[in-house]
């Protein structure tokens, strides 16, 4: 009746530009695979229901909530997690503008912001809001995050 003991199958995932060869259960969430099988714990569980955005990764250039996907569905796609970002403008902006406090929402927010910057370099306030509404930050007043994003999007922005 139940799929136990945990039968597994082998798949290859492309994650942060590397192919990894792993065994997964058919029911595994992409978030759990990233964290538990690959040890990339930057992506966080917050609700496992698509509501908080803490688990956001970039899948083929678009932000995706990794709790809303089965690992199987990610086969053949390019997955990028926070661990794949190094010294990007948005990371620097988050530091400079104190756009985090506890830091738990931060990887998800940064992935979303990074993707926004890549996909919509001329995003207007409405677009920014539309994109970033999918993540919750409980610590900051969001103003710091907005400042960080704008400082990257608008080169002449200095608030």
């Amino acid at each position: 009746m139940h799929d136990f003991p945990l039968s597994k199958r082998r798949i290859i995932l492309n994650i942060n530009s590397e192919d990894v060869d792993i065994y997964i259960r058919a029911a595994d969430l992409l978030l759990d695979t990233i964290r538990e099988s690959l040890g990339l714990t930057g992506s966080k569980p917050g609700c496992l229901n698509g509501d908080c955005g803490a688990c956001t990764i970039i899948l083929d250039e678009k932000p995706m909530k990794s709790c809303l996907m089965l690992t199987l569905e990610a086969e053949g796609k390019k997955i990028m997690t926070i661990e794949g970002l190094k010294n990007t403008p948005i990371q620097k902006a988050f530091i400079e503008h104190f756009a985090f406090q506890c830091g738990y929402c931060t990887p998800g927010f940064i992935m979303n912001c990074h993707s926004l910057i890549k996909n919509q370099p001329n995003a207007d306030p409405h677009t920014i809001k539309e994109w970033l509404q999918s993540n919750i930050c409980r610590c900051t007043g969001y103003q710091e995050i907005e400042t960080a994003v704008l400082s990257v999007l608008r080169k002449d922005y200095n608030k």
């Binding site: 930057g42 661990e83 530091i95 985090f100 506890c102 830091g103 738990y104 409980r138 969001y142 103003q143």
Partner: protein
């Protein structure tokens, strides 16, 4: 000053923007087992039987634990079994625990446990709990073990009552010409930290209990596990890595007991428990609810003469910290005003709701909503400017607080200066209602706030400093980094005192109760004050050691030495000096002889002259100082559909000295955001059976990006003389007045008194339809 007041970068910044920062659930070991809770679907019921025969057949299941034979727990009253025994008292209460190899197996088994219940009548609000004929949540309160200073009333639902009797209320009434009375209420709600609570525990072959938890109170976990489960206290080691948001919600100890019990049931193997979001909302302690009645009397000129107050807190099914919460609310039961005659009963009521833990502000945003709304009603009746009414009554040095503490220039901030600044910032000319569109009006609302801490009178904080061979310093404090940046600020205090580069201070972020000195709990905006004082003491201790070694090598008196920029030198002749790196790890003479050794600085701090409150009058000194402030908001309200937008939110806080500008602003703005969210939208919706209907972030919806107002934050600087560099606590204060200012501005906009939270359009619509009293 070198670094005090500067927005130096946070010590945890790089870790946090790269995903490298580790929180409790990020520690993954492959020998770890996983626990899953089974929760009660009822708010009040008898447990008839628990059948786990199907569950235990699920592959991978290692143990199933129920409430049989567990000790009672609770910080103020020991009234709660960590797993319910015979009876459940709130929706979401843990009834059984399953431990299995894989989380999916544990979840599967948990779903197969069959429990039969007999539902009982529920107590669904603190008002109902207060009725003489209300069902009882705890029938045998008298049998419980009770902490000092807690006064439960057996055969009722009163878990604790704090009485404030200041002056003579009869006299106050006689001297008053004008009276107003208001009733206010809101249901419990949630902290909704983005990291759900989690913990893992193991018991080592030598009996050491090792616990890692997402907590604000690692030292309390150690104490409580020791006292409840009879483990020798030195054998308990608690680790706290970074914490993903807490806001008071992780100051209670709950999930740690479960992890410990789970580990014990599998011969000490490591077991992890991670609450799902639903469990985090339902099972874990929540933000307290309140039912309040406030009656104020004043002279024709608006001088407050009497305050008669009844606060009925919704403590929920178990007491834990809520007697203390209701006590803290009594301590500052009025706003920051001088009132000679105060009569207040602040009660912590048992109900069949999820039980409460602290919430940012510790009872203050709750009572300020009731009190500051009443102040606006009074101003309206007197036909005077509500800010003026606050100004003339503002509390000042020389006045006494509700618990009769005499205020002086140091232990209270300057309320009037805050009001003046707010006036300027908001462009305030009395209450105004401006038509800003065809169906929209703009209004502003204001409130004043204050808060002291009400924590254990013997709470203490310790700091250890060790030096590295290059002259840099390691800072170890038991303060948990919950996001507030306190450890960064402590590093600044240390750099300032040691006159050392900020970059030469290395901060230990994780807390380990075996190697980090105790900091009571990371709560009450007291981290910077208490740990700050401990840092100063430790720095002075280290400086003295450095100077004594140097005095021997340089052949000068200790008093003639000075330190700066990593050197110790003769004050008059700075050319005669030694580098820190040559002395902090012992000094070696050319022939190899050596003296000294690694410098280890130590310091601690305990609050001075704190007292318990008198049982009959409430007189007593609960905290060292009051941070005060004035806050406001501007809203645009749609008169047709009752929706509104918060245009701008203002805070002026007397912070004493700013230690880190951006961190302080961030704390205030974040707190304001949380306060607006609490006042404007957050609540649990209970059905008639006391069940919480919205236990997901989809239905329990905090503020999201783009919904924030523009923030204006300013500081006033009245130093607290006992604090490091005069700084006052500021982690909570931005939140305190927000529900009240929202209520005040919207009451004006909607033309109806709005006394119930959250202020969603439906609430306003209902208030408008209700006949006005």
């Amino acid at each position: 000053m070198r670094v005090i007041g500067k927005s130096v970068g946070r010590k945890d910044a790089e870790e946090k923007v790269t995903g490298a920062a580790k929180y409790t659930d990020d520690y993954i070991f492959n020998n770890m087992l996983h626990a899953r809770v089974v929760c009660s679907p009822y708010a009040h019921a008898l447990i008839n039987s628990i059948d786990w025969s199907k569950a235990e057949k699920v592959p991978g299941v290692r143990s199933i634990v129920t409430g049989v034979g567990l000790p009672l727990t609770g910080e103020e009253i020991r009234d709660r079994s960590p797993i319910a025994f015979k009876k459940v008292r709130y929706h979401g209460e843990v009834v059984a625990l399953v431990v299995a190899d894989h989380p999916a197996q544990a979840a599967e088994a948990a779903s197969l446990i069959e429990i039969s219940y007999t539902p009982l009548p529920v107590v669904n609000s603190p008002r109902q709990a207060f009725q003489p004929d209300s069902p009882l949540v705890h029938e045998h309160m008298e049998a419980y073990e009770i902490n000092v200073n807690v006064y439960p009333e057996p055969h009722t639902n009163v878990a604790h009552r704090t009485k404030i009797r200041k002056g003579n209320i009869e006299k106050g009434r006689m001297e008053s010409d004008v009276f107003v009375e208001g009733s206010f209420s809101f249901a419990p709600s949630d902290h909704a930290a983005m990291e759900t609570r989690s913990c893992f525990a193991e018991i080592r072959p030598n009996g050491d209990v090792i616990i890692t938890s997402s907590s604000q109170a690692p030292f309390m976990i150690k104490k409580l596990i020791s006292s409840y489960f009879g483990v020798e206290i030195g054998k308990i080691i608690v680790n706290t890595p970074l914490v993903g948001g807490a806001y008071g919600g992780k100051a209670s100890v709950q999930w740690e007991f479960l992890a410990y019990i789970a580990a014990k049931s599998v011969e000490g193997r490591p077991v992890k428990i991670l609450y799902s979001r639903e469990e985090d909302i339902l099972t874990a302690p929540v933000h307290i609810g309140l039912d309040a009645t406030v009656k104020l009397g004043c002279t024709r000129d608006g001088i407050l003469k009497s305050a008669e107050i009844l606060y009925l807190f919704d403590g929920g099914a178990y007491a834990d910290k809520s007697p203390d919460l209701s006590r803290a609310a009594a301590v500052d039961c009025t706003g920051p005003y001088h009132i000679e005659n105060i009569w207040c009963d602040s009660l912590c009521m048992y109900t069949n709701h999820p039980y409460a833990s602290p919430f940012r502000g510790f009872g203050h945003s709750e009572v300020h909503f009731a009190f500051e709304r009443t102040m606006d009603m009074l101003a309206k009746k007197l036909k005077i400017d509500p800010l003026e009414l606050r100004y003339i009554n503002a509390i000042q040095p020389g006045d006494t607080t509700p618990t009769q503490v005499l205020l002086n220039k140091s232990n209270v901030g300057n309320v009037r200066a805050c009001i003046d600044k707010l006036k300027e910032l908001m462009d305030w000319n009395g209450e105004t209602k401006i038509e800003s569109g065809k169906h929209t009006v703009r209004t502003k609302g204001v409130a004043c706030i204050w808060k002291t801490s009400t924590i254990d009178p013997n709470a203490s904080s310790g700091v250890i400093l060790t030096f590295n061979p290059d002259g840099s310093v390691n800072l170890m404090s038991g303060v948990v980094e919950i996001g507030t940046g306190t450890k960064t600020v402590l590093a600044q205090i240390l750099a300032e005192r040691l006159r050392l580069d900020y970059d030469k201070i290395h901060v230990k972020m994780k807390v380990n109760t075996q190697t980090t000195p105790e900091h009571w709990k990371t709560v009450a905006s007291r981290g910077t004050f208490m740990a700050g004082r401990a840092v100063l003491a430790a720095a002075d201790d280290a400086i003295l050691q450095i100077k004594s070694i140097a005095s021997c090598i340089l052949r000068v008196r200790v008093e003639d030495l000075e330190i700066d920029s990593g050197k110790v030198f003769v004050r008059e002749e700075p050319g005669i000096n030694l580098k820190f790196e040559d002395v902090v790890y012992g000094y070696t003479y050319p022939n190899g002889n050596s003296i000294g050794g690694q410098i280890i600085g130590r310091g601690n701090y305990i609050l001075r002259h704190m007292t318990y409150l008198d049982a009959d009058t409430g007189a007593g000194k609960p905290g060292p100082e009051w941070t005060v402030g004035a806050q406001g908001v501007e809203v645009e309200y749609n008169t047709i559909n009752h929706t509104y937008k918060v245009v701008k939110a203002y805070s002026v806080i007397d912070i004493g000295q700013v230690l880190n500008e951006k961190t302080a602003r961030g704390q205030v703005m974040g707190a304001m955001s949380m306060g607006l969210s609490f006042g404007g939208r957050e609540t649990f919706y209970f059905d008639q059976h006391g069940r919480v209907l919205n236990h997901r972030l989809r239905t329990y919806r905090p503020l999201r990006f783009g919904e924030q107002p523009e923030y204006a934050v300013e500081f006033i600087h009245t130093p607290h003389m006992e604090a490091a560099y005069g700084a006052r606590g500021v982690g909570e204060h931005g939140l305190i007045g927000m529900p009240a200012v929202l209520g005040n501005s919207l009451s004006l906009a909607a033309g109806v008194e709005l006394n119930h939270l959250p202020l969603i359009p439906e609430q306003i619509w209902r208030a408008k339809r209700r006949p006005q009293e």
